[in-house]
Symmetry: C2
Subunit: 333 residues, 2 copies
């Protein structure tokens, strides 16, 4: 059915080795033969069978990408970068969705190793030693995207969440907010959220403030939960703080909605700051001050590094930190 190297060889009146040589430029071939073979390749639309090639080379041009949730906005942006740059360098993306479960992460790592992917790009909410170990042992080049990747001896790309938290802390302080309430979905260490809060703590410390632990509230990471938290807060009759800082935009949106539903002026009475700069930040009223991460670039750079590693370049820098940015909008003053 489709044309093979044999067909090309026959048509050109040469051996298949010669055809292989002109395809891969692996050994000198006399000029007239090279031209003839090339012509035939073009005429027949011949494309080498990548599977056969993989079999003998023991290496595919697949890059296995494991992500924790395809439909997540942030992951989607990162994947856009990965896919675009990957294709640019002629690598194909083998996509695995782990749903953030270590069990599935490991399952997919093994699957990718078995498929002899050229490289593994591992995106995780929370990197675990076990996953790193399996990948490392396989000797397959790998790059990690995870907020805690720097805790491991691996190549990684990301932003400095502690620093971002620090920046938000300083921003809030500079705006003369005395009483600030922090909303974060969890208190286990090593999550993005706790890194952000760590940064805030540092900002507080540096400006001689005390970070009161009871100002840190653990709320589920969605709009509804944040909304209800604020409703309860108001109902309880406690005094409002000068500002709320939620570690993701969804929560911040819930805060704004609850405040507005109680006719509390945002930002005049209370400022609200989010994190992630999702589409919602621009749509909600008042629009949301938040922290932007270069998601597309995280994807693009991580795969670029991975491909360099795959192709044998020595990389010096192991951890690439990309810049974040506070986007100031209407919700803070």
């Amino acid at each position: 059915m489709s044309v093979t190297i044999k067909d090309v060889a026959k048509m050109a009146g040469v051996s298949i080795s010669t055809v292989s040589r002109v395809i891969n430029n692996s050994k000198p071939v006399s000029n007239d033969i090279r031209v003839r073979v090339t012509e035939i390749i073009e005429a027949t639309n011949y494309v080498p069978n990548p599977i056969a090639r993989s079999l003998v080379l023991k290496k595919s041009n697949f890059i296995g990408v494991i992500v924790p949730d395809i439909s997540n906005y942030k992951i989607g942006e990162i994947l856009n970068g990965i896919e675009e740059i990957g294709k640019m360098y002629d690598y194909d993306i083998l996509l695995c969705n782990s749903y953030g479960e270590l069990k599935d992460e490991i399952k997919y790592i093994n699957l990718l190793i078995n498929k002899q992917v050229a490289g593994i790009l591992f995106v995780s909410w929370n990197l675990k030693q076990e996953a790193v170990d399996i990948i490392t042992k396989s000797n397959i080049p790998s790059v990690y995207v995870s907020k805690n990747a720097k805790d491991f001896d691996v190549f990684s790309v990301g932003i400095d969440h502690e620093r971002a938290g620090y920046d938000v802390g300083n921003y809030l302080i500079s705006k003369k907010n005395e009483d600030i309430i922090f909303m974060s979905p969890d208190h286990t260490s090593q999550t993005i959220n706790s890194l952000i809060i760590d940064g805030v703590r540092r900002a507080f410390k540096e400006s001689g403030r005390v970070f009161e632990e009871n100002k840190l509230k653990y709320i589920k990471a969605d709009t509804i939960s944040a909304y209800e938290f604020i409703m309860d807060y108001i109902k309880s009759g406690q005094e409002l703080p000068d500002a709320f800082f939620a570690t993701n935009d969804d929560m911040a949106a819930g805060v704004i909605n609850a405040l507005c539903d109680n006719n509390i002026d945002v930002p005049k009475t209370v400022s609200v700051v989010g994190y992630d700069n999702t589409r919602i930040a621009n749509i909600i009223r008042p629009t949301l001050t938040t922290v932007e991460q270069p998601l597309y670039d995280i994807g693009a750079i991580s795969i670029r590094i991975l491909i360099k590693k795959v192709e044998g370049f020595e990389m010096k820098e192991k951890n690439i930190t990309l810049p974040h940015k506070i986007i100031e909008r209407q919700s803070s003053i």
Copy 2:
């Protein structure tokens, strides 16, 4: 390095064909041998090399998925369904992002054919004959997800946008909205948007109303453009309609924001209805009445059908239409 079928055969003291037979259950094998081989396979952690298998079978267990935009919310949800069900049946997803460009769609189709994927799942905003032709000619099983897939002789999964538009039309009419303005991003035929509007037209016709073409406004499909359209509309002093229907939630959000910024009560003065039921619909105030599509299911069912085709089942129904639903929220009354 890794253990092959040869190693297993040697260890079991049988031929490689026998090992192959127990792996694939392709031919009867005596029980004791089967047990012995199985034990060795487990002990050695042997996994057949999928590349070698693909080479001889001329067929991989990859399913090529071409999507128009990974980071798009709707695509992400569909991909979730595709990935999850695909993995469940042991197929791997080869992801290609076409950015909706026919040129790239074709490039990736050819790439997937060359990779000998087992099947192609083609997701497109707007299916073109040329793409269909190439896939069809390759004889690779395929399933399409595109609002205009039904215009071609292919297997497809989706919702009936015309019918959804019809339902929205009837919904709006039943709510006693006399004057309605429709906002849609384009007027080229065969887009989702025009299908929706076609449905509205039918609803109008059936209830004896005239669909006035000047009530249909072509606006760019983003929040800002819709916002500005409404601002201009109000500034121009024209009378407000009873309702706005935008063919996506982002636009509807812009409408709501503009209306609210002008102190126009939604829904008491004007109702607003969107389309897609994105996260924004629940976050914006007032929350948005909109049309929900079963995105995850579209992905899940389309790949399920594709896999059945790949595995040789005869499918009778070519076009699967999944149910949509109007989600009534605060923005309409």
